[in-house]
Symmetry: none
DNA sequence: TGGCTTCTTCACGCCGCCTTTACGACGGGA
DNA sequence: TCCCGTCGTAAAGGCGGCGTGAAGAAGCCA
């Protein structure tokens, strides 16, 4: 995720200043509105990851802002309020707010509750997570745990697969023997350099047309191995 | 949804009594535990819709309870605590809690926050979930709880059915032994790997034409199992 | 209570995977 | 030219995972 975006709907200047410092300091992109009407527009145009709404706005009831937002979006809404009465909380939460923080509040708590909101949003949209990797005739689908070479599925043993995916996750960059041993066999086996040699041979047999002249699994002598990322027809022909 | 289930992990008797009256009065099914260890077991066996945890438990740190739960489930967790310090809140929220309510609290507020949690859970589990699943000659109807093989209905025992539907819900992707054990037998049985073997054999006998050469229930050696999602006639011919 | 289904547990045989070892090819340095 | 380290390859042995049958234990219903 790039820097998360937050829309803040708040009329009191000093709280705006406080939150601006807090949020931008943590790397959030912040968009501010001082009225409910402007807040609705801002949320619509920015499509932020979180909305923070003060209940005590000059032009309209904060509860109405929440209701209007909930007509079309599920973006997490955190309510700020000077009123700590229970019935205020219940009403705000029941019309669609996800959290309610009473003033005065600490920056740390608000930030933590924003993180919770982002976590929820991430959980909802997840699963486009591990995007498939493709170079030339090689296709690796991390999510399905399937590998295709020239369109045909190829089977891999657990260690083979782990080794391959380790290289895929660092595609284009050199991965040292140490790194491979640590990530595939575990930190207790970083001295067994020959493991990597043996298994690299297995991989090449399964996915290179000419194992002796590899196009994907390249040796970086004295250092480690590298998975070709951008197949431009380069290299030894 | 039937009556939502809540697991309450709380050692103080009077708060338990108070919440029991409040929650059962609102139609919730309530399961109680007075220690962290018992709470973990209870959540595993009941698979509730919400968990309420008191941070001040006699046997283990409440934060550890949250961490242990988050290793395998995303069930909403609401923290109760006598400590209202900001750093307590931040830590609890950051290890995986979804909300934090300081004592003393009102019944209305807690109920409202439970409703928020249920709303989130409902949104998360949706996703075209209950649509019937079909590959080739296999047809699974989650809603009717019926399974057809080559047009004929086949009967399954509870565990068989749960195992099958777990695979269906992840169709096409590998499901690890751990995952299957957790979701079918509960997190207390993740070390009984042979259960899966035995029941996979049952499933294959009931829905594979040649149990010895499965077309649907594929073994992913060393990892787990996979239900074939796109039957392309591929594989061993 | 008896009979039925279902779940748990165990033992056995097979096959595949991991580990280990050995050897040959290649290249750089003395 | 010889030596040595790195790399690739092949093969063998042991171990563990997997599938299977079957029997005991635990419910469930009549």
């Amino acid at each position: 995720m790039p820097d998360p975006a937050v829309v803040l709907v708040e009329d009191e200047p000093q709280i705006r200043r406080f939150l601006r410092a807090t949020l931008t300091g943590q790397g959030y992109r912040l968009f501010e509105a001082t009225t409910g009407a402007a807040g609705l527009v801002e949320v619509g145009s920015r499509q932020p990851d979180v909305v923070i709404v003060d209940l005590g706005l000059p032009d309209m009831d904060g509860l109405d802002v929440i209701r209007r937002l909930r007509e079309w979006t599920a973006i997490p809404i955190i309510v700020l309020s000077a009123r700590g009465q229970e019935r205020d909380k219940v009403m705000a939460l029941d019309v669609g707010a996800d959290d309610y923080v009473s003033k005065p509040f600490g920056a740390g708590e608000l930030l933590a509750r924003i993180r919770v909101a982002l976590r929820h949003a991430a959980g909802a949209t997840r699963e486009g997570d591990e995007t498939p990797f493709t170079v030339d005739d090689l296709h690796v689908d991390l999510l399905r745990r399937q590998v295709f070479v020239a369109g045909k599925e190829v089977h891999f043993t657990p260690i083979e697969y782990k080794l391959l995916t380790t290289l895929v996750r660092h595609a284009g960059r050199v991965v040292t023997h140490q790194q491979l041993l640590r990530e595939v066999w575990g930190p207790a086996h970083t001295d067994q350099a020959h493991y990597v040699r043996v298994y690299m041979a297995h991989l090449r047999h399964k996915l290179e047309a000419e194992p002796a002249r590899p196009r994907y699994l390249l040796t970086e002598p004295g250092v480690g191995y590298r998975l070709a990322a951008d197949w431009s027809g380069s290299g030894r022909a």
